[in-house]
Amino acid sequence: MTGTPAVVIDGMRFGYGDGDFRLAVDALSIAEGERVACVGPSGTGKTTLVNLIAGIQVPEAGSVRLGDEVVSSLTDAERRRVRIRDVGLVFQEFELLDYLSAYENLLLPYHLTPHLRLDEDVKARASELAGAMGISHTLARRPVGLSHGERQRVAICRALLTEPRLVMCDEPTGNLDSKTAMVTLDLLFAQAERHGATLLMVTHDQGLLHRFDRVIDVEDLQAEWTA
């Protein structure tokens, strides 16, 4: 941990069109290399916070900074470029493409953008990463032929392969049994640390919180809404 902020949120205001939900965060800073757990009851805005940091959604006011880039003020195309290059995302539902093999899913970001070049180094890194995650033997299979744990590990490899500055996981163990969840998290932490990536994980699992450098509760972050 160097103490340099990987994520900085300042005076951010966000609301959905129907007005039922509003998220207001006055200030949040996550240091580079820091491992942060994001908790809170359902519907309080954990996933929305992840989406705002990743640039999937844009705040109405305030700013979201990702390293040197003020994500909130970028165009849609620029936000996508930042996301695919600098952010690794892991979802609860794995979100692998069923018509690709595990290996092709792992390399998916490289197939989707010219900003990432798929060369022999990347392929070697993919094989190494798969080996470290224990899924080398599954790479030729399609997702339908993998267990839940294997699918999530493929998804984690996909998120880490681009060597992102920030890895964000939205309840990655929600669909896994506790033993598989623990193994998967061990592997995730080890690989994130190895790559020096900042980790922000949304979780409901209280038993995991002790493994993080910091735990933030979205309800505590919620500031008074000012238009």
Binding site: A54, R83, I84, Y99, E104, H111
Partner: protein, 389 residues
């Protein structure tokens, strides 16, 4: 760009059943109108070329199409016969060369065409092996007949017996194969040619048997000074051989012998006009230009083709709408996948490109399938003469 092709191909290949259905549905509206057009064009050109090389056809009054079809494609209809006298009349007029065509019998399902040597000149038919039919009882085979029946010169071919239960009907005649014609790709390949006199033997009009003086007396029904009446139970010769050829004879005036049609080759336009006028002025005979009949026939075909084209057009519109619907539904079904791509950071342009390449792949496969089907059709078009026959 490689990634786009890879992902698109993987998607299309993974959903191969759906893709195959879509490809077939899109290929059909391309193949159907083009295929129909090719077949009709080929059909028309084959008919017109053959009709064009046949200046006039004379026959008994009746259906014009039947007369043209019997003279051009040896399709024996139920129509009345024209007589040998009309052929002699044309010959004696000095206005044209008449060629007899008599098609009333078959040999192993192939039409037996009785004609004269001029027919082979008209159609430029040359024997590949052997000779043309020179004698009574000789037969020369069309190329396809020889190929399909595995026959060659020196062999024998029996005519088909019309009735096995009526002893008054002439029996089958065993004919000697004297030659096989070169392949022409026309109706001549599927016919069996004999001298016109042989067809009268087949009809029982000309027949051969032992001399009346040598026949079993029990089979003699009656006698006059000039005529001996023999019992129908006397079986005539069933094969023409050098030994019995002199026994074949006809008991009536030769000008009454029947023909299915007469191909008429006028020496000039004047002869053509005069002959047509003379024949068409009678109540019993007609003379027609096969090209006109075939064009009239093709007129009907083209009327049907207009409906086929319209049908293909409607099919194309319906298929296009269905394809658009399928693509739209596919996009809805892939909403989750698109959301994943969106969240990973895939650009909108790339998502559009993925869909475009997938659609393009399906279209290219459809065009390839339609082209393949058209190539197969084109390759089989030369065999179309079989269908026409």
């Amino acid at each position: 760009m490689t990634g786009v092709w890879l992902l698109s191909w993987r998607y299309v290949a993974h959903h191969r059943a759906q893709t195959a259905i879509l490809v077939i549905c899109l290929a059909l509206p391309v193949f159907l109108p083009l295929g129909t057009m090719w077949v009709v064009d080929r059909y028309q050109s084959e008919l017109v070329v053959r009709a064009g090389s046949t200046p006039l056809v004379a026959g008994a009054k009746g259906n014009r199409f039947d007369l043209a079809m019997v003279a051009l494609y040896f399709r024996a209809g139920p129509g009345n016969a024209i007589s040998w006298a009309q052929l002699e009349e044309i010959q004696e007029s000095g206005l044209a060369l008449p060629i007899p065509i008599n098609v009333r019998h078959s040999a192993r399902g192939r039409p037996i065409v009785g004609t004269s040597p001029e027919y082979f000149e008209l159609r430029r038919l040359r024997p590949r092996t052997g000779t043309l039919p020179l004698c009574l009882g000789d037969v020369v085979l069309g190329a396809r007949v020889a190929e399909e029946l595995g026959l060659a010169p020196g062999g024998k071919l029996a005519s088909d017996q019309k009735s096995h239960h009526d002893i008054s009907k002439p029996t089958a005649l065993r004919m000697s194969i004297c030659g096989v014609l070169r392949k022409t790709g026309t109706a001549d390949d599927g016919a069996v040619f004999v001298d016109v006199r042989t067809t009268w033997v087949l009809e029982g009009l000309v027949h051969g048997h032992r001399a009346a003086s040598k026949v079993d007396p029990n089979r003699v029904i009656g006698k006059t000074d000039h005529l001996v009446h023999l019992s129908p139970s006397l079986i005539p010769h069933q094969e023409v051989t050098p030994d019995n050829v002199r026994n074949f004879h006809y008991h009536g005036p030769t000008h009454a012998l029947p023909l299915s049609a007469i191909i008429v080759i006028p020496h000039d336009l004047k002869g053509r006009t005069l002959l047509k006028a003379r024949f068409n002025a009678t109540k019993r005979w007609q003379m027609l230009e096969p090209v006109e009949v075939i064009e009239e026939l093709m007129g009907f075909v083209f009327k049907v083709k207009v409906f086929l084209d319209a049908y293909a057009g409607v099919l194309a519109i319906v298929t296009s709408i269905m394809a658009m619907l399928v693509i739209a539904l596919s996009l809805r079904l892939r909403k989750a996948e698109m959301r994943t791509l969106d969240r990973i950071g895939c650009s909108r342009g790339m998502v559009f490109l993925l869909h475009a390449v997938e659609t393009l792949t399906v279209l290219v496969l459809s065009v390839l399938l339609a082209s393949g089907a058209l190539l197969i059709l084109a390759a089989s078009l030369p065999q179309l003469s079989k269908v026409i026959e």
